[in-house]
């Protein structure tokens, strides 16, 4: 089954983490992708997103879509990136998510969502 792992954090995460720790976490993230990629569990590398301050949202309104500054939701946690994985079941996807290196920092979470698979 395919799942999207959405990597979330609070926008101020990297203000709270010193540069050296951030660099080390980056290396661990790279190793995480290398390891799971080699095992054939990454279906689509996905993307790392620019900070939420760069977000612009197009919203529905009575007068048609309007463009607004900022993210869609007011929530404290924002999506910082995502990847698509292909594994046998939810437990396997959760096992991957659990080893996501930034999880050792407070405020970080990984949302795991199955992808809608259309039958051919």
């Amino acid at each position: 089954m395919k799942y999207v792992l959405m990597f979330c954090d609070t926008p101020d995460l990297y203000d709270r983490v010193d540069e050296e720790t951030a660099k080390k976490t980056y290396e661990e993230v790279f190793a995480w992708f290398t390891e799971h990629g080699a095992a054939g569990r990454i279906a689509d590398g996905g993307a790392e997103l620019q900070p939420v301050t760069t977000a612009t949202t197009v919203k529905s309104s009575d007068g048609g879509p309007v463009v607004v500054d900022g993210p869609f939701s007011e929530s404290k946690e924002v999506v910082g990136g995502f990847t698509v994985v292909d594994v046998p079941d939810l437990d396997a996807a959760l096992a991957m998510a659990r080893t996501w290196p930034p999880l050792k920092h407070p405020g970080v979470s990984v949302e795991v969502r199955p992808i809608v698979e259309h039958e051919m």
Partner: protein, 404 residues
């Protein structure tokens, strides 16, 4: 036809319980669709209750349920037009016997139904229906909620199992301990939810405490090397041994301190103690074993006053290393009152207010301590708060009598 006796109903429930989970597991293997399998068995259970109450339990209840469940599954698949390959497999006259394996078929099913990706209420409802063989109506009455509420919980849980790919298998070894704790917690909740029922109003109501004990037995038998599984069975066996003394002849709830200890089931206490020893010998202490040890202290005490409260307090301190939940700390407060007095205990219990303000037993415990300290007005206020918060009729009656 005269209405069946409660004993006959209990036998009927036990016959269904013995078979339902196994049939769900094997039917799921056959049709590859958990929702279809579970619904088919649920319908068969409802049919069985009706038919067996009228005509008695058949000679081979398992075969009866199996045939009915398969027929229902076939109907569902036909409606879904998804039978091609499955139909072929189902045409075989003899139901395929489960492949021999180390664990009972129902255990992987349980791990799936108690998956942490599901809400706790959903885990309970689904386990009761899919593994223990309760009907939706029985689950609803046991938890004092409406039938549509339970039905919706179960539908959502099953939808998530299917669409999120929750596996109905044994968890990986590194996840095993945490996941087992989730499963044991469901059985424990089931016991506690069912524990405070007074009389069974509907003829076919199930005794949830009895069902939980059965489930704990299934787990301890299937996973004999898991100390906590054996520990939970010890705990529930010891607590269930007090059941005959928990209600007086008028059906009123009697608290532990006031119970007629001569009515406790000594045989059950003996087997609970033996189970606790077996669990302890596995040298992997945990919260259920420690709670069982506390229950064993109560079981061997001649009276409330002559209870070894110091030992119990020590056990609570050990328990807190495994379980820091506010409810456990509240219970420690009760032991603390016996060892160091109501004043110290009240100070300790009051610290839990932020976490437990919505929990009726927090207020009932405070009321008790306040009464001991002679602060009767405050005690009455706390009892009234407890009364507002509990929906359980037996507990409501007890609190009302304290306020009268």
């Amino acid at each position: 036809m005269s209405p069946p006796s409660p004993d006959a109903d209990a036998a009927l429930g036990a016959a269904i319980r013995a078979e339902a989970g196994t049939i769900v597991a094997s039917l799921y293997r056959l049709v590859g669709d958990f929702d279809v399998a579970e619904e088919a068995v649920q319908d068969a259970v409802v049919e069985a209750l009706r038919t067996w109450r009228a005509r008695g339990v058949p000679e081979r209840p398992g075969a009866w349920l199996q045939v009915a469940a398969r027929r229902n599954a076939l109907d569902r698949l036909r409606r879904n037009k998804r039978l091609d390959a499955v139909l072929e497999r189902m045409r075989e006259d003899v139901p395929p016997s489960p492949e021999p394996s180390d664990v009972d078929d129902r255990v992987p099913l349980l791990f799936g139904c108690c998956h942490p990706a599901l809400a706790v209420e959903a885990r309970l409802a689904l386990t009761l229906r899919a593994v223990v063989g309760l009907t939706t109506a029985q689950v609803a009455r046991a938890f004092l909620v409406t039938e549509p509420t339970v039905a919706q919980r179960i539908v959502r849980a099953k939808r998530k199992i299917v669409s999120a790919g929750i596996p109905l298998t044994m968890p990986a070894p590194d996840e095993r301990a945490a996941r087992l704790d989730d499963v044991l917690t469901v059985a424990y909740l089931m016991f506690n939810e069912g524990f405070v029922s007074t009389s069974r109003e509907q003829g076919d109501d199930r005794d949830l405490a009895d069902d939980a004990l059965w489930l704990a037995g299934l787990l301890a038998t299937s996973l004999p090397a898991e100390a906590e599984a054996v520990g939970l069975l010890a705990l529930l066996t010891l607590q269930h041994a007090r059941q005959p003394a928990r209600f007086d002849e008028h059906g009123r709830l009697v608290l532990l301190r006031d119970q007629d200890r001569g009515r406790w089931d000594r045989m059950a206490i003996g087997s609970g103690e033996a189970l606790l020893e077996r669990a302890a010998a596995l040298r992997a202490p945990g919260r259920f074993q420690l709670q069982a040890a506390i229950a064993a202290c109560h079981a061997s005490a001649p009276t409330w006053e002559a209870t070894d409260w110091l030992q119990i307090l020590v056990l609570y301190d050990m328990l807190l290393r495994h379980d820091r939940s506010p409810v456990t700390r509240l219970n420690r407060g009760v032991a603390l009152a016996q060892v160091r007095g109501a004043h110290v205990a009240l100070e300790y219990v009051d610290q839990l207010g932020a976490d437990l303000d919505g929990y009726h037993l927090f207020h009932a415990t405070r009321a008790d301590l306040l009464r001991t300290l002679g602060r009767s007005d405050e005690a009455a206020t706390a009892d009234r708060r407890a009364l507002e918060l509990t929906r359980n009729p037996a507990e409501q009656a007890l609190l009302r009598s304290r306020l009268a």
